[in-house]
């Protein structure tokens, strides 16, 4: 098997510890879905589709807010408990940003199809879901950005691990941060050096064991990496908006 003798600087695919994989976000791919997005981090590809707000059956109907539903579709095979857990995690994460009170008595479905899993699949999925929600025009209070960080057996923290790296690492974490450039809530700190004002971790899912210091390190690195993804997401979404204006 590949010998992952990890020096501090180099990884199997030549990235440094802080380097993300090339990311690609395409939106409005599907015809039938109200919103769709495809998020690709090198070989990890996820396709997200959003349907909603749409009517739901009586039990799921909530007279005060829209009901969110997340479906995780695996590449092959039957969905297992890990997939159900991913669904729950993503649903709770998205409930933070979706303005569900604007559409009571309706349902919003987010379907995530794993096209290929090469590490950081949960982070990819959350990014794809966010982009798909924007594409569908669902009202959101802000955007979110997800990043995956791993801890090697030597205690080195690396960003955006691949599948092989995740298997060999001691632990990896999926972190979700808010992606709001300005905040309108009084009392929160002002933007610092271009970073989004809102601090805080929306979601954090860990696999494996690590020390407290390593975890804090992961949070720091994840936050730094998320700034880059956040900027990319905003540019990608804004650019599509602008191109609509040019065309119409």
């Amino acid at each position: 098997m590949i010998n992952l003798e990890m020096s501090e600087q180099a990884r199997v695919d030549g990235r440094t510890a802080n380097q993300l994989r090339p990311t690609l976000c395409s939106r409005s791919l599907l015809e039938r879905a109200h919103g769709s997005a495809r998020w690709q981090q090198d070989n990890t590809i996820i396709m997200a589709a959003v349907y909603g707000p749409k009517p739901v059956s009586g039990k799921k109907e909530d007279p005060e807010r829209a009901t969110l539903e997340v479906l995780w579709k695996t590449k092959s095979g039957i969905a297992g408990n890990a997939d159900k857990e991913a669904e729950v995690t993503i649903r709770r994460t998205l409930e933070y940003i979706v303005l569900s009170s604007m559409h009571p008595n309706t349902g919003i479905s987010i379907i995530l199809q794993v096209v290929n899993d090469d590490g950081a699949i949960l982070a990819c999925a959350i990014n794809a879901a966010c982009a798909a929600l924007v594409d569908a025009g669902i009202p959101l209070t802000g955007l979110i950005v997800a990043v995956s960080v791993g801890v090697t057996t030597h205690g080195v923290v690396v960003v955006d691990p691949t599948k092989v790296e995740e298997k060999n690492f001691r632990a990896h974490v999926c972190l979700v941060f808010p992606n709001r450039p300005k905040c309108t809530v009084a009392g929160l700190p002002a933007p610092v050096g271009g970073e989004p004002a809102e601090h805080g971790i929306i979601t954090c899912v860990t696999r494996g064991a690590m020390s407290v210091d390593e975890y804090m390190n992961c949070l720091e690195r994840g936050r730094a990496a998320s700034v880059k993804i956040a900027k990319f997401t905003r540019t990608s979404l804004e650019h599509c908006q602008r191109s609509y204006e040019i065309m119409s």
Binding site: A10, Q19, M47, K73, S76, Q113, V115, N116, H239
Partner: protein, 514 residues
């Protein structure tokens, strides 16, 4: 026969569609027997493909497991098809167990493949009665734009053609053990496909006298009956399915079958071309597996760059979306280059800058996967100008030479292939231009280094360390022939460009956009 997924069409729409068809016009501007444009995109891994015809998108994934055969067929492997009508595709599709339409689709495709013996199941047998390969095809409908059967069938065929199962041998002390070799040790084997059964679907309207080929969702909602003909390019009918609906005269059915035959020939040609092109891409990617291919991995990165761009361009469903996507990709690439320094500012002490040509640059080329490169400690100048020369690095020699023994086993074919490929890359100037155009945002490698890199691929497969470090010349070097353990080494001069389809197709990419 109404497909529930057509949604609710108003009476006006229904009448309009039927009136238009009577005048031999369709609502998307096609003529009655025109099919929509078909694009086949292979994924990087074997056995996964995404097919798009008009607005219908289907993806198929093939996996294989070793298991016990059916008791009544002890010398044959088996092929199973699972269809999933993902809720992605249509608001009417429910998650969970496949509905009747999904099952019908799966069974039609299964009949086309199994009963026509398109997939050779006897070659899947490893140990009679004990171990056979079970091939599983998962078909996911991503977007329902109508005519799911045809598109899903092509997806299944393409995935089966690109799938590679692990090579296995019978061994053990009693000769009854099956040893499965992982892909790194032995090159995986492709399935044997005797022919390609292509499904062609027709929709009937009115009293059964109006037909249309390749119906869209709205047409499916209006149609009175449907006929699916599965035929191969030799003219053999593999299956016909007409499940109820309006009655059609047999002369019309014959006409449909004849049209289906000719369409099948077209589609088979397109499918074969796509499979061949994928085979070449795959061969280029195989270069990555060889341990000393540090330079060719940068080439692979560029091949991937063009591949990515191609994939994105091809999957667009409208011109604006194409533009948008390309624009996003442009931004991404420029941003990747811009953003590199930002991250390094954030965490500067962790990034090791590599001194190449006296400039401090990030090791990674725009974030593309270069694979296997180890960073030199800073301060060492690269002997070759304009590129990375990692074979000079002790770390590469030390760490990666252990792969040499194992990988040489399967690499004699790979060596031939990439010798041809590298020669083509050296020779084809236009290819160089197209590679340069796509990789210019990636920046780091300029055209001057391409020749040196091509040379690197040629002699990098030789044992590392033959040339002493300071004396390596710039530019292509044609080393003397030396008898090696494989006995297959040859100079560049003596490599005759074998006119295989591999080489021809490698030269073709000068037509690539961008």
């Amino acid at each position: 026969m109404n497909s529930f997924s057509g949604g609710r069409l108003s009476n006006n729409e229904k009448e309009f569609i039927q009136a238009a068809l009577r005048a031999e016009q369709r609502i998307d501007g096609r003529r009655p027997f025109d099919a929509r444009r078909l694009t086949i995109n292979f994924a990087k891994e074997d056995g996964a493909v995404e097919v798009q015809q008009g607005r219908t998108r289907v993806t198929a994934i093939v996996t294989g497991t070793l298991g016990a055969p059916y008791p009544d067929r002890p010398t044959e492997g088996s092929l199973n098809i699972f269809t999933e009508f993902s809720p992605l595709a249509d608001p009417g599709f429910d998650s969970g167990r496949p509905g009747e339409l999904a099952i019908e689709l799966g069974r039609i495709i299964d009949r086309g493949l199994r009963e026509s013996r398109a997939v050779d199941t006897e070659s899947l047998c490893v140990l009679a009665g004990r171990a056979v390969w079970t091939i599983r095809v998962d078909i996911h409908i991503l977007d329902n734009g109508g005519n799911l059967v045809d598109v899903a069938n092509i997806a299944a065929l393409a995935a089966l053609a690109s799938y590679r199962r692990p090579d296995c041998t019978i061994g053990g002390h009693d000769g009854q053990e099956v040893i499965v070799h992982p892909p790194e040790v032995r090159e995986p084997v492709s399935l044997i496909l005797h022919h390609y059964p292509i499904a062609v679907s027709f929709a009937f309207f009115g009293d059964g006298d109006i037909e249309a080929l390749d119906p869209t969702v709205k047409e499916e909602a209006v149609m009175g009956g449907r006929l699916t003909v599965i035929v191969n390019s030799q003219g053999d009918i593999c299956a016909i399915q007409k499940g109820g609906g309006v009655g059609v005269r047999h002369s019309e059915i014959m006409r449909c079958i004849r049209i289906a035959s000719s369409k099948a020939v077209e589609v088979t040609n397109q499918l074969k071309k796509a499979i061949e092109a994928n085979g070449i891409e795959r061969a280029k990617r195989k270069i990555k597996r060889h341990p000393d291919q540090s330079m060719s991995e940068a080439q692979k990165g560029k091949a991937e760059a063009t591949q990515d761009i191609q994939m994105e361009e091809v999957s667009g469903v409208s011109a604006d979306q194409d533009e948008r996507r390309e624009a996003v990709m442009e931004i991404l690439r420029t941003e990747e280059m811009e953003e590199e320094p930002t991250i390094s500012e954030v965490e500067e002490e962790d990034d090791i800058p590599v001194k190449v040509d006296g400039k401090k640059q990030k090791l990674n080329v725009g974030g593309k996967d270069i694979g296997g490169m180890k960073v030199e400690p800073s301060g060492k100048e690269a002997p070759l100008g304009g590129g990375f020369s990692l074979w000079a690095n002790e770390a590469v020699n030390g760490a990666e030479r252990n792969f040499g023994a194992d990988s040489k086993q399967f690499d004699s074919d790979a060596i031939k292939e990439f010798e041809q490929v590298s020669e083509a890359i050296q020779g084809a100037k236009t290819q160089e231009k197209s590679i340069k155009a796509t990789s210019s945002p990636l920046g780091l490698l300029d055209s001057g280094s391409l020749a040196t890199m091509a040379a690197a691929t040629v002699y990098a497969h030789m044992a590392v360390g033959e040339f002493p470090e300071g004396s390596r010349p710039l530019g292509p070097v044609f080393p003397k022939v030396e008898a090696d353990e494989n006995g297959q080494r040859s100079t560049l001069d003596s490599i005759k460009p074998v006119p295989t389809s591999l080489l021809d197709a490698v030269k073709k990419p000068k037509k690539r956009k961008k």
